[in-house]
């Protein structure tokens, strides 16, 4: 096994990978951009080297610098995480050329799956069902409109090089098409350096269901069940669960077989994900393959009991898969909520900034993967994710109850987050029933009723007044200068036991 591995990523996924490295007794090497000097990943690593300024193109995407750091620090392998260089065939190639193990698939597989139009052709040959659509990128908005009209609205405009909802637009009417097409091209160009987009049929009320696959370099390939990632805002997943509660066992079997076939069509090695749309008739269509670890991999880990990063390392080191498909058993139900610095009430606008206070949930079957800490800053330069909160439960209802408990414990102060929105979603009937589709979030907003006043409205105001009063008292005592509110904290409040004298008498309502 490797003795030192470089993690070519940032944020929570870098920390999560380094945790597994530390468990395996492998030294971790972090790379970081200047504004990430004070990030958790730099704190967590065994070694850390700055590779450039904030802009990803000058730091996290600098293949040359990253490989140089790996060589000079003595790392034998590089884990790319997700995003950044994880799906860039030239990087996989450059690692190979430098004699460093790339923890991920070979350049060929990344390339084959990375270009969506090429991937469609490959999948078609492998007998994988596809959504109807333009087979290749279209440059002119007018040509694209013709294609769109042919397959009938609604249609989806997607970036050829894309992922994560960037450069993606749903269009319902012909008259909105041209503006959306141009917006998508612009966004794609900015995000991926490639403005190519294509058009496909928009499947109504679909679920986004994806299969985790794992393949070793000895020709063995298994799937580790599915994830339902239909809860999306702005075409990005925010809540995921495993298993998918509406997937029939026979469909699961068929989809799993197709997922393995898709992976094997590109001689896949490592961990990958085959994304499908699942419609109401249990028909499914291949969307794309992500040739890397997925953000939502923890829910697969929770139901399977497998550490996917550990398995990635073992596969990269040439080991055989230690199990067959039949050995794998799913247990219980797992949910992930992505906690973002964003304002759900303002179209999920990012709200990065200083985390005045951060107190994560704990206790049984709760897992928080984060890349920040109390008094750290959610950077304006990158994805505003604060943490992935994951729970496991004996069944789906149990897991939902546990997630609500975990969210209720989460304290994130100083910036706007989507914690309250997650709680609202988990109480929504459509979500409770499990029958939601990818339109869930807009549907929830549309069906919102007037908020009823709660006890918190009154007590929250009282708390603000009491906090202010206590603060003023401290200022008064210290002769006018407000330096510390801690002075009225634990130590001093013990001077007076009078309150217990009264409480001892059990003054209850």
């Amino acid at each position: 096994m490797f003795t030192k591995v470089l993690v070519a990523n940032r944020g929570e996924i870098a920390v999560r990978i380094m945790r597994t490295l530390r468990e395996m007794g492998i030294k971790s090497v972090a790379i970081y951009s200047e504004p990430d000097r004070e990030s958790l990943l730099v704190r967590y690593a065994d070694e850390a080297y700055c590779v450039g300024p904030a802009a990803s193109a000058e730091s996290y995407l600098r293949m040359d610098k990253i490989i140089a750091v790996a060589k000079e620090s003595g790392a034998q392998a590089i884990h790319p995480g997700f995003g950044f260089l994880s799906e860039r065939a030239p990087f996989s190639q450059a690692c190979e050329d430098a004699g460093i193990v790339f923890i991920g698939p070979k350049p060929y597989a990344i390339e084959a799956m990375g270009n969506k139009t090429h991937a469609r052709d490959l999948m078609l040959k492998a007998g994988v069902p596809l959504v109807p659509g333009s087979k290749s990128a279209i440059e002119s908005a007018d040509d694209a409109l013709v294609v769109a009209k042919e397959m009938r609205f609604p249609v989806l405009i997607k970036a050829a090089a894309g992922g994560g909802g960037k450069g993606m637009r749903r269009v319902d009417r012909a008259e909105d098409f041209v503006a959306a097409f141009e917006g998508a091209r612009r966004e794609a160009l900015s995000a991926f350096g490639n403005g190519d987009v294509y058009v496909e049929k928009y499947v109504l009320n679909p679920k986004h269901v994806e299969f985790q696959v794992l393949a070793d370099s000895h020709g063995n390939c298994v799937h580790i069940f599915e994830r339902d990632c239909s809860v999306q805002r702005r075409h990005q997943k925010i809540t995921e669960e495993a298993p998918c509660s509406t997937l029939l066992p026979e469909t699961r079997k068929r989809m799993g077989d197709v997922a393995i076939a898709a992976a094997q069509a590109v001689n896949y090695v490592g961990a990958g994900t085959i994304e499908f749309l699942l419609d109401e008739n249990q028909d499914f269509y291949f969307l794309e393959m992500n040739t890397r670890l997925q953000v939502e991999h923890p829910i697969t880990e929770m139901i399977s009991g497998l550490d996917l990063v550990r398995l990635q390392l073992k596969i990269a080191d040439g080991e055989k898969l230690p199990f067959t498909q039949d050995d794998l058993k799913a247990r219980g139900h797992a949910i992930e909520c992505r906690v973002y610095a964003e304002d759900p009430e303002s179209n999920f606008m990012p709200s990065p900034g200083l985390l005045h206070y951060l107190s994560p949930p704990g206790g049984p079957w709760v897992r928080e993967d984060t890349g920040v800490y109390s008094e750290a800053t959610v950077s304006v330069h990158y994805d505003p994710m604060i943490a992935k909160l994951v729970v496991w439960g004996e069944d789906r209802d149990h897991a939902i109850g546990r997630m609500k408990r975990a969210l209720s414990e989460y304290v994130i102060s100083g910036i706007k987050t989507n914690v309250a929105f997650h709680l609202e979603m988990l109480d929504n009937e459509m979500l409770r029933a499990g029958t939601y589709s990818t339109d869930f979030v807009p549907a929830l907003f549309a069906a919102r009723e007037e908020v009823q006043p709660t006890e918190f409205d009154e007590i929250g105001e009282l708390a603000a007044v009491i906090a202010r009063h206590r603060q003023d008292e401290v200022v008064e005592k210290s002769g006018g200068s407000s330096t510390s509110t801690r002075a009225s904290g634990p130590s001093n409040s013990w001077k007076n036991y009078g309150r217990f004298q009264q409480l001892r008498g059990l003054r209850l309502r």
């Binding site: 960037k166 917006g183 612009r186 966004e187 900015s190 702005r234 303002s346 179209n347 606008m349 990012p350 709200s351 005045h356 206070y357 304006v380 990158y382 994805d383 969210l407 209720s408 414990e409 989460y410 304290v411 102060s413 100083g414 914690v419 309250a420 997650h422 709680l423 709660t454 918190f456 409205d457 007590i459 929250g460 105001e461 009282l462 708390a463 603000a464 007044v465 009491i466 906090a467 202010r468 009063h469 206590r470 603060q471 003023d472 008292e473 510390s484 509110t485 801690r486 009225s488 904290g489 634990p490 409040s493 001077k495 007076n496 036991y497 009078g498 309150r499 009264q502 409480l503 309502r509």
Partner: protein, 170 residues
């Protein structure tokens, strides 16, 4: 005893708080409702209150002149004035501003498109600008109805939180 004022629908809501001899607080709210509060601060910025047997473990943290209150995922920002501040507010010092003509950028990012020109009549909520932040395009809407008086940024320009983007005359 001290008085405090929180914003109400029409006028400020008055609270009075007295620290009792045993260290607890007696608070009387706007409707005359009285609370006995046993409070302590587990760590700076947090307050735990026992009120009539109920336990409330909260964040109550002053940020930019407001108290940010948080409890089990729910949040609420409240401006609390004491007597002195209330007098100053009444005298017009440090009082709350009416919405001005300026549309300020709520985020740091890059202007990717400007959807309105000087002289355009816009409705409140109409998209007037698109700003890209963290690789996502965000629609910025007119904060009030009126006529575009000036456009202070251009496409491609980087903006900070608080940059004046556009001014809208009523």
């Amino acid at each position: 005893m001290a008085n405090y004022y929180t914003p109400g629908t029409e006028e400020d809501r008055q609270w009075s708080v007295e620290t009792l001899e045993d260290g607890r607080y007696q608070a009387v709210g706007p409707g005359g409702k009285s609370f006995i509060v046993d409070a302590f601060s587990p760590v700076a910025g947090r307050v735990h209150m026992l009120v009539d047997g109920k336990s409330w473990d909260m964040d109550a943290r002053e940020i930019d002149g407001e108290i940010h209150v948080q409890w089990r995922g729910l949040t609420k920002n409240i401006k609390v004035l004491n007597d002195r501040e209330k007098r100053m507010a009444v005298a017009g010092i440090g009082g709350s501003k009416a919405a001005g003509p300026e549309l300020l950028s709520p985020m740091a990012g890059k202007v990717v498109a400007i959807k309105a020109q000087i002289g355009d009549e816009v409705k409140e909520g109409q998209v007037v600008l698109i700003i890209e932040a963290m690789k996502m395009e965000n629609d910025l809407k007119a904060h009030r109805a009126g006529r575009i008086e000036s456009v202070n940024v251009s496409a491609g320009e980087a903006v900070e939180v608080g940059t004046v983007l556009i001014t809208i005359a009523e």
